[in-house]
């Protein structure tokens, strides 16, 4: 892209060399500290060993609390659907995982931001296992990601309702303000994503493509903001990308025409190959949205992990001087992530359009 000239700068090259050097240096010190930590862990609990992977995973995972600053955080409502009924309480009751909450039906405990049922013999049953075993507990809490998603939805609604109002008010005139910012993007989705890939029937799918595009994009961008309005890792959550990919799967297969199904169930191969072809084609149906799901999830999560790892370096080395190296890298990564945010929204929408296009394509053999 356009970053190559940055690498030519002497300062950057110097800091790169320094960074690599420091990495090796601190690997040693880290190892030493690690040993020391083992010894000291028993002595002092307050000076806990900094574990970057734990911190990073905590940041990219979902949570029942929304950390604002310092020790201030907002407790979000916990909604549990148990076999005995619905249970609602504030996540405050867990006191950051230090206390159990005795609800109406069960006693609950928060372990690693997951609600578990505490059985009488004090063994833990997680939501997932309980669900599997006897469908006792479904966690429908309003978590950080849900709140973040709702905020992004409100933002999207405000933006696009005002834009559509502007279209009504300034009918037939040139766009202005926010409208003129959004119109090229909408036109881009229409002319570069929908029309070339779907064909002349593109108009039916425009609302879906536009919603997917802007939903992913705005949530990618909000995810990049490190403090309050952001801070959630929505599009880097497999559940969200799963839903998006599942919607794509449904739309593609509902709209698949007879050529599409013929290609799957009666391809142009000898009949005795059908038993082999069917599983392959069925896997193909699933694997396309699956790839979409994994791509978005992994891209956004990987970006967050890299940024957080670079920041963690400062705490791993326990030295403010490391920030001289890591902060420019974080800035660089954030700029790259801005690009990735738009790119992933584009790719997801483009591939959705492509799959829809292949499903509704009219073949003329």
């Amino acid at each position: 892209m356009y970053f190559s000239h940055i690498l030519k700068s002497k300062k950057i090259a110097l800091s790169l060399v320094l960074g690599v050097f420091l990495t090796f240096c601190t690997c040693k010190t880290f190892a030493i500290q690690h040993e020391e930590g083992h010894n000291e862990a028993a002595k002092t609990e307050t000076e806990k060993e900094f574990n970057p992977s734990e911190v990073i995973l905590e940041h990219i995972a979902d949570s029942h609390m929304w950390h604002l600053w310092g020790h201030t955080s907002v407790a979000l409502p916990v909604i549990l659907y148990t076999d005995k009924g619905l249970e609602t309480f504030s996540a405050d009751k867990f006191e950051h995982g230090h206390a159990d909450h005795a609800g109406k039906y069960y006693t609950y405990r928060l372990v690693k931001d997951k609600v578990h049922i505490v059985a009488e013999n004090d063994t833990l049953l997680s939501a997932a296992t309980v669900l599997k075993l006897n469908k006792k507990l479904i966690d429908l809490s309003i978590t950080r990601n849900v709140v973040s998603m709702w905020m992004s939805m409100i933002l999207l609604l405000i933006i696009f309702l005002s834009v559509s109002a502007a279209y009504k008010k300034r009918e037939g005139k040139a766009p202005k303000g926010l409208q003129s910012f959004m119109e090229p993007i909408i036109m881009f989705v229409r002319d570069d994503i929908a029309r070339p890939n779907i064909g002349y029937k593109y108009q039916r799918f425009m609302p879906l493509l536009l919603t997917i595009f802007f939903f992913i994009w705005i949530n990618n961008l909000i995810g990049l903001v490190p403090f309050f309005p952001g801070g959630a890792n929505l599009t880097g959550n497999i559940a969200v990308t799963f839903v998006l990919a599942f919607i794509t799967l449904i739309i593609v297969n509902v709209n698949g025409n007879k050529y599409y199904w013929k290609h799957i169930f009666a391809p142009d191969v000898p009949v005795w190959l059908y038993p082999i072809m069917w599983p392959v084609e069925l896997v193909g149906i699933i694997s396309k949205p699956f790839a979409l799901m994994i791509r978005l999830f992994a891209n956004i999560t990987a970006g967050h992990i890299i940024v957080l790892s670079l920041i963690s370096l400062i705490f791993v080395f326990k030295s403010a001087y490391v920030s001289v190296v890591s902060v420019p890298f974080v800035v660089f990564m954030d700029v790259l992530e801005l690009l990735v945010a738009a790119l992933q929204a584009f790719i997801f929408t483009l591939l959705t359009a492509l799959f829809i296009g292949t499903a509704i394509e009219e073949h003329h053999h």
Binding site: K168, G172, F215, T301
Partner: protein, 163 residues
């Protein structure tokens, strides 16, 4: 492993929220926006088409004008030519008629002249004969005033008569 296991709660909320967002945006945002954009594009296209049509019409009109002018000019020439022909025709006809009339008049005049001449001649002849008789009478009277001469003449005449 935990990271790649979708949580059922978030799946539920995402599905609900996304569908609500989709329907709200589709109904209240995308429909009007796409409609407005399409309308504007169509109107621009229409305007362009109309401009092209107007240009064609203009060219056609100009052509028509020119051809009309050409026709008019040709017609004018034709009319002029015809007029000239007619004029020539009329002139020549008039000339012919005049000539004919002249000739007739001349003929009439000649006949009249002849008539008059004949009358005059007859008159002259009568007068001449009267005069001649008068003269002859006078001469004869003069001649025969003398008896002798009368007798001589008779004698002559008698001599001439040979019986």
């Amino acid at each position: 492993m935990e990271l790649v296991t979708p949580e059922i709660g978030l799946v539920f909320w995402t599905t609900v929220s996304f569908l609500i967002l989709f329907f709200l945006l589709a109904k209240f945002a995308w429909k009007p926006i796409m409609g407005a954009i399409d309308d504007r594009e169509r109107s621009i296209e229409d305007a362009l088409l109309k401009a092209a049509a107007a240009k064609d019409e203009m060219a056609r009109l100009t052509n028509e004008n020119e051809s009309l002018l050409k026709d008019a000019r040709a017609e004018r020439d034709l009319i002029l030519l015809e007029a000239r022909k007619l004029k020539d025709h009329i002139v020549s006809e008039a000339k012919e008629a005049a000539q004919k009339e002249g000739a007739r008049q001349i003929e009439l005049a000649r006949i009249e002249i002849n008539n008059q001449k004949n009358i005059a001649m007859a008159d002259v002849k009568n007068q001449v004969s009267a005069l001649s008789i008068e003269i002859a009478e006078k001469i004869l009277r003069k001649q025969f005033e003398d008896q002798g001469k009368q007798d001589a003449l008779v004698a002559d005449l008698l001599k001439e008569v040979k019986l």
